[in-house]
């Protein structure tokens, strides 16, 4: 596709064959991502600075800045303090430590490298996990004077937990132990003893002095007894091909590509495997199957596509696929489930709480979920399994059970990072609070793939000539939710719509009669109501729900349960005092008398919606007028046109 026809460049950019060859070689370099693990004292920043400096990635102006900074804050006397090349943020430069994940770049003739530089202090486990999540090889730094330390074990464990298969142990500061072969061998033995259980495919050991450059780029002259490769050569030659391309095909759908009525494609990055035109695929979790019609890219149509490529696939059949689905090989499918066992690294000051509603963010989909049990915690210092308990603090690691409100398709993390990874997001603060690795399904029926149901939500809704939706009325007791909802329902009914009202009267006496009015019970009440509302919209109905539903988080959870179904939050904004004056059921009087506990607005809070779709200020209006406002909103936004 040539979109730049008017910009003539070809004639000016003809080139000599020699340089063409060079550019071609540059283009065809391999690619590897590294992680460095070690503390400030192990000389980690110095090693990275050395790699950049020795591979000529440092420019003259940076070098003069380095000379200036070395004199000002350096720790190496007259020599250049290479660590200063790396320590970026002003705050940490003053403290003399690195505090976050930084990414550095260098290249050799064979490969291009990205180094994730992460600090080694215990409180920064989360940073190391972040860097490790995308790395192919980890460099574990050990100070030759101090040998294998607790932190060495900690780092190696996190590296293994995050699925890095290759490790090189850099035994640094050999200059301070007289370049002793004995020290090197002791450390090697100690490391191998404990790393046995960590499941690495390769472990290398290199004695070096990053400060002096021994065994970094060049073979050390002072350590003739070491016959292995220097670090840079090790990077260049290590075979890290994980064979993802030979694994079964998986593509999480990111975006549905619909430029016009004649084209419907599914865009995504291939997580594993290869796909060819004509291959049979299954869309999960729906289990519908089809065949690949075309593999479309800007650079033309492809016959096949491979792991890591970002493509757009069109199918022979029109089946309902949306963002969050996974396209997979028909014969070899991922597991579909709504309950998993996973390893969790907690990354937030606020501890994890069992059964608290969180958001689980997979590569292409966000699903509400709860941790229902902690099987065990891991002491990352000695890898001992500890009793579970019911919370998880910052930087703690645990094997947990996770219940999701929606089914997901996954592969175990050790087989596919893309298909087995997730982060946990806090609903209120939106912070990323944990990283997780799915290990197995907890649902024994999960490998029984659902028969795709041909009568789906859309079919049922179109039989009714309407669009399903949830109208979620919230407000104080006596604010007029039910009165207004009843009027809205009458008006909708008169237009031929099929509706249903869910309120305390029809839910509290049956479905939820086991629930009281404590915060926990209110939350469970609303959870069940939202599930029922979701089922009813699946049946094609327009649902009107009338509950005080005082907590923002629970209303948000209800919205998420309903997924893509339009969820219209209607805030019946009647002031508390007005409600108390009206007191249609005499409840306020009883509450004032102390006969009712946990009464919303008195001894239990009401969190008003921040951005409701509809806000109804009732004072000064008749219920009829207010109901018309709701109908008008539905009309204006196209909910009532079939």
């Amino acid at each position: 596709m040539n979109i730049y026809a008017n910009f003539k460049m070809d004639e000016v950019d003809d080139t000599s064959e020699k340089f063409d060859q060079f550019l071609h070689e540059q283009e065809n370099k391999g690619f590897m991502r590294l992680l460095t693990c070690g503390s400030v004292d192990d000389g980690k920043s110095t090693l990275i600075g050395r790699l950049l400096y020795d591979s000529k990635m440092v420019f003259e102006d940076q070098l003069s800045a380095l000379e200036r900074d070395s004199k000002k804050v350096g720790t190496t006397g007259e020599a250049l303090d290479l660590a200063l090349l790396v320590d970026g943020l002003a705050a940490e430069r003053e403290q003399g430590i690195t505090i976050d994940v930084a990414y550095r770049f260098f290249a050799t003739d064979q490969r291009k490298f990205i180094i994730a530089d992460t600090p080694g202090h215990e409180q920064y486990t989360r940073n190391m996990a972040t860097g490790a999540s995308t790395a192919d090889l980890a460099i574990i730094l050990i100070d030759a004077r101090r040998g294998v330390l607790t932190q060495t074990k900690r780092h190696s464990f996190i590296v293994s937990l995050l699925g890095i298969k290759h490790v090189v142990v850099a035994i640094n500061k050999m200059d301070l132990v007289d370049y002793s072969e004995e020290v090197y061998e002791e450390i090697q033995k100690a490391y191998l003893d404990f790393a046995e259980t960590l499941g690495f495919s390769t472990i290398g050991f290199i004695p070096m002095s990053a400060l002096n450059g021994d065994n970094v780029l060049n073979q050390s002259e002072t350590m003739g007894w070491y016959t292995g490769k220097p670090l840079m050569e090790y990077f260049n030659t290590l075979d890290i091909d994980a064979g993802d391309d030979t694994r079964p095909f998986r593509m999480p759908v990111q975006w549905v590509n619909r430029p016009n009525l004649n084209f419907r494609g599914y865009s995504g990055t291939i997580a594993s495997g290869t796909i060819k035109v004509g291959d049979e695929i299954v869309a999960l979790p729906s289990s519908r199957t089809s065949k690949v019609a075309k593999i479309v890219t800007f650079d033309g149509e492809f016959d096949s596509a491979h792991t890591e490529q970002a493509v757009t696939i069109t199918l022979e059949d029109e089946i309902d696929i949306s963002r969050g689905d996974v396209l997979a090989a028909v014969q070899n499918r991922p597991t579909v489930t709504n309950a998993v066992a996973a390893d969790l690294i907690w990354m937030d000051e606020q501890a994890m709480a069992l059964n608290h509603p969180y958001l689980i963010r997979l590569e292409n989909k966000t699903v509400p979920g709860r941790v229902t049990a902690i099987d065990y915690k891991v002491d990352i210092n000695n890898l001992q399994q500890l009793a579970g308990g019911d919370d998880l603090a910052l930087n703690e690691v645990a094997r947990v059970q996770l219940a999701l409100t929606d089914r997901i398709a996954f592969d175990p993390y050790e087989l596919s990072r893309s298909m087995g990874c997730f982060v946990v997001i806090d609903r209120m603060t939106n912070k990323t609070i944990a990283g997780g690795m799915i290990r197995a399904s907890l649902d024994t029926a999960s490998n029984v793939h659902w028969q795709a149901l041909d009568v789906d939500k859309q079919a049922r809704a179109s039989a009714k000539h309407q669009k399903p939706a949830v109208l979620w009325f919230t407000g104080f007791s006596g604010s007029g939710k039910s009165t207004i909802a009843n009027l809205v329902e009458k008006k909708l009914h008169a237009r031929g719509n099929h509706t249903y009202i869910l309120d305390g009267d029809n839910v509290r006496h049956g479905l939820n009669k086991d629930l009281g009015f404590t915060d926990e019970d209110r939350i469970e009440n609303i959870r069940r109501v939202s599930e029922v509302a979701n089922l009813m919209t699946d049946a094609g109905l327009i649902v009107l729900s009338c509950f005080i539903s005082p907590f923002r988080q629970e209303r948000q959870a209800a919205r998420e349960v309903c997924g893509e179904t339009p969820f219209i939050e209607v805030f019946v904004d009647t002031p508390f005092d007005t409600c108390e004056q009206r007191d249609p059921k005499g409840l306020y009087q009883k509450a004032r008398a102390g006969e009712i506990k946990n009464f919303t607005g008195m001894d239990s809070p009401y969190e008003p919606p921040e951005n409701p779709e509809v806000r109804l200020q009732t004072p000064g209006h008749t219920p009829e007028e207010v109901a018309d406002m709701v109908i008008r909103y539905l009309d204006d936004n196209g909910f009532l046109s079939p």
Partner: protein, 300 residues
């Protein structure tokens, strides 16, 4: 590691990021600075959604002091590609007559670039803005996330960034907050040039050597791009064969003497070069952590 080359991997990663934003954010925008990194970013967006056009507008924050050739290039490209290009200028700054010659680089950049950008993001209520920044450009950029959270005042807090693992990008924000998204985070300057060459991406002709009128000022060669240039006593306009390694406001962008006209020559020159690319930008040279301060204040 798969069989893809590093450029193919970088391209796929960037496309993935761009698609995530389109799928998840309510009202994203792509910031376009007309420079080579922007050219690559826009090209990747064209690729990511093909055969659709990018499902978001492109926006240029115009300080009114860009090289004339940049503006011509911008307008032609937007027209040819059929893109929705928003051009935002800080009118208050224009009314106050703010400019680099009269007010100095710091005030000019703050009012016409930093403040203008914040104005535009607030005006259109964008919840996510793509930028072309790379981690290899500058030390403080090396720690920036790909999805970088900004509070309601557009501020970046380097000590309180969200952990970013795998490709599970967390783009959730509250009302008024926003995301800056950097799809080129893992590219280096050489990658950008190689990709431009491989994909035949048009770049502003100012990157190519040509005889141009320049004035030597504080050790930098500043091009006389229009009659607003305030020639100081003793300064002489010279005709020199120069090109630009980076583009910005013409009074703040130093040229380098060069014969590199074609892309291979430019790449060759870059590889042999001993100074890093941002040296041409006057604002980075103040003191050690100046870029980091600018970013905390909302500069991209």
């Amino acid at each position: 590691m798969s069989g893809l080359t590093h450029l193919e991997r970088l391209e796929a990663e960037s496309i993935h990021i761009i698609r995530e934003v389109a799928a998840e954010c309510r009202n994203p925008v792509m910031l376009y600075s007309i420079g080579k990194d922007s050219s690559v970013l826009l090209h990747l967006a064209m690729k990511a959604f093909y055969p659709s056009l990018p499902p978001f507008p492109i926006m240029h924050v115009d300080t009114t002091w860009k090289f004339r050739e940049m503006i011509e290039f911008r307008d032609r490209l937007a027209k040819d590609l059929g893109l929705d290009m928003i051009v935002h200028i800080n009118q208050e700054g224009v009314e106050q007559g703010i400019g680099p010659f009269s007010h100095g680089s710091a005030v000019h950049t703050d009012v016409m670039k930093t403040q203008a950008l914040k104005q535009a993001l607030s005006k259109y209520q964008f919840d996510a803005a793509f930028g072309g920044a790379r981690r290899d450009e500058e030390k403080s950029r090396a720690k920036e996330r790909i999805f970088s959270f900004r509070d309601a005042n557009h501020r970046w807090d380097p000590k309180n960034q969200r952990p970013e693992l795998w490709r599970t990008y967390n783009n959730r924000i509250h009302k008024g907050e926003s995301m800056r998204v950097f799809p080129l985070s893992n590219w280096t300057e050489l990658d950008v040039w190689q990709y431009i060459y491989r994909e035949d991406i048009p770049i502003v002709p100012l990157y190519r050597a040509k005889v141009r009128p320049v004035v030597e000022r504080d050790g930098a060669l500043i091009m006389v791009d229009d009659d607003r240039f305030d020639l100081k006593p003793g300064e002489v306009i010279q005709e020199k064969r120069v090109r630009f390694r980076t583009l910005g406001c013409y009074p703040l962008t130093g040229a380098v003497e060069s014969d590199a006209e074609t892309l291979p020559e430019i790449i060759e020159e870059m590889l042999l070069s001993t100074t890093s690319e941002r040296q041409g930008r006057v604002i980075d040279q103040d003191h050690g952590a100046s870029m980091e301060q600018k970013k905390q204040e909302g500069y991209f």
